[in-house]
Amino acid sequence: MLTLAAGTVSSWAAAPAGPQPSPLPAEHLTIATVGPKSPHWVYVVDYAYANEIDSRVYLFDGDTYRRIGQIDTGFIPGVNLSPDGKTTAVATTYFARGGHGTRTDVVEFNDNNTLAKTGEIVIPPKHAQTLAMLFTVAYSSDGKFVYTPYLTPAASFGVLDPARKKVLSEIDTAGCTLVFPWGPNRVSSICESGRLLTVTLDAQGKEASRTSSEPFFNPDQDPVFAQAVPLPDGYAYVSFLGQVHEIDFTQPKLVMRTPWSLVSATEKGTWRPGGVQIGAVHRSLGKLFVPMHRGGDGSHKAGGTEIWVFDLKSHQRTARWPIDTKELGSVIAVQVSQDAAPLLFAATETANVLVLDAQTGKMQHVEKKLGQTPQLLLNP
């Protein structure tokens, strides 16, 4: 190879006639850095359906439309960001021989300044493998605990110490599933009975107490998406038919607010929320963004042909933004930046990531084919 390369350089050098431009300077190989953080960055989780052992996260800049870098995330991962935004936690599985062999489950930590892996905690080989959830790995509000749900299919969750890289405990959840974190030491899981089970931890990450809420939805008549939408003071659980169940997590006991509807009486059953990441909230503007489609029972995973915008105080719809679904695909995931000039990010069923002005709905950019099956969008 060396001889061939030298000969090639020599023949190129002899080819041009006339005045010779100055030769190019020698180049230096470097490693690119991530650069200053922007509120317009988005972490795009690509579950890579066609080769699921190779899922990954792309860090994408909504201003420059540039892919900044990548974090590898293994097989059907849970992905989340630390409260300070400095770390990406990944709960995932690796097989010893690529697609087969001994299963090892880990929670990996990646430095968001370098996108390099900085550490891991090996966990029992039973992390809940389900697609595109905000609640398959999560931090406590002070960043001192990390929670990851287990499924064997018996349900429980692990409490981890990210500083000392240790598993602290496993807490049985009596069939309730996923981890909805609140405050420094509370974890809720959602139950088939329509309730939330809330476990409070002691300083060692062990269970101190548990309570069960009143039922707030009926899984037979109108189930809620398990993919809750984070609110400034809790979570909103949106039902298949468009009821919004806002729950205040700030009180000692969960407070269920009066449910409200995304749809009018005439739209009910026709227009529905759907997709994977079915809502996003801009906290200071008090706006909720939901991908909506026309469909019947069983269409809850259909992407939105429009994005509807709601005022969280008045519960009024303030905008409908149609999507050119023939060209772009329907919207299966939404996320909004939290700054004063917010961007709305939308992933489509055909793997495009759309960047819209979150105040006007104006399409700013279409990033074509950002990975294979991008289905979860996280904010820095």
Partner: protein, 172 residues
């Protein structure tokens, strides 16, 4: 595995007479004597472990996402991956635990209870992706959920593709 095999027959019989949810709840109580335990997994694939004949060629229907038996499937159709709608591709293992759908067969006008098993131990097939969700429920109702990796309890727990196996007629 033995208790699962013993209960397979009971499961099929019960499935013909009752809803999926009450079926599992009943079996859970039967096995444990407790009324409030989580839904239990059931092995419905004991007979699929040792095929006695070569895999049949899949029909065109079986490779079509619109096929009635696929009304709540989510994944790659095994019929496009070397198997059929009821057989896993060579060299894979079937998942002993499953999710369930109730699908209407327009051919005879009956509703059937269908078990969707995942086939495991190789990387994703990647062909004939099919995502249908009639009666599908979120993860808190696990027995009706098609998002989780149902290979989770297999020795080789990688997901390859999904099949759809009739358990019996749903009694109204």
């Amino acid at each position: 595995m033995k208790p699962d095999r013993i209960f397979e027959k009971a499961a099929r019989s019960l499935a013909k007479r009752t809803s999926r949810r009450s079926l599992l709840a009943s079996l859970g109580q039967l096995l444990t004597g407790a009324a409030l335990l989580p839904l239990l997994p059931i092995d419905r694939t004991a007979r699929a472990q040792s095929p006695s004949s070569p895999v049949a060629k899949p029909t065109a229907d079986e490779q079509n996402c619109e096929y009635w038996k696929y009304c709540a499937i989510d994944g790659f159709l095994c019929a496009c991956c070397g198997g059929t709608s009821t057989s896993c591709p060579p060299g894979t293992q079937s998942s002993p635990i499953t999710w369930i759908g109730t699908c209407h067969n327009p051919g005879d006008g009956r509703d059937y209870i269908v078990s969707y098993n995942d086939c495991c131990g190789k990387v994703s097939c990647g062909d004939c992706f099919c995502d249908r969700n009639e009666g599908e429920k979120p993860m808190y109702r696990l027995s009706r959920n098609n998002d989780v990796n149902w290979c989770m309890a297999n020795t080789e727990s990688n997901y390859h593709c999904s099949v759809s196996v009739i358990l019996g007629v749903a009694q109204k």
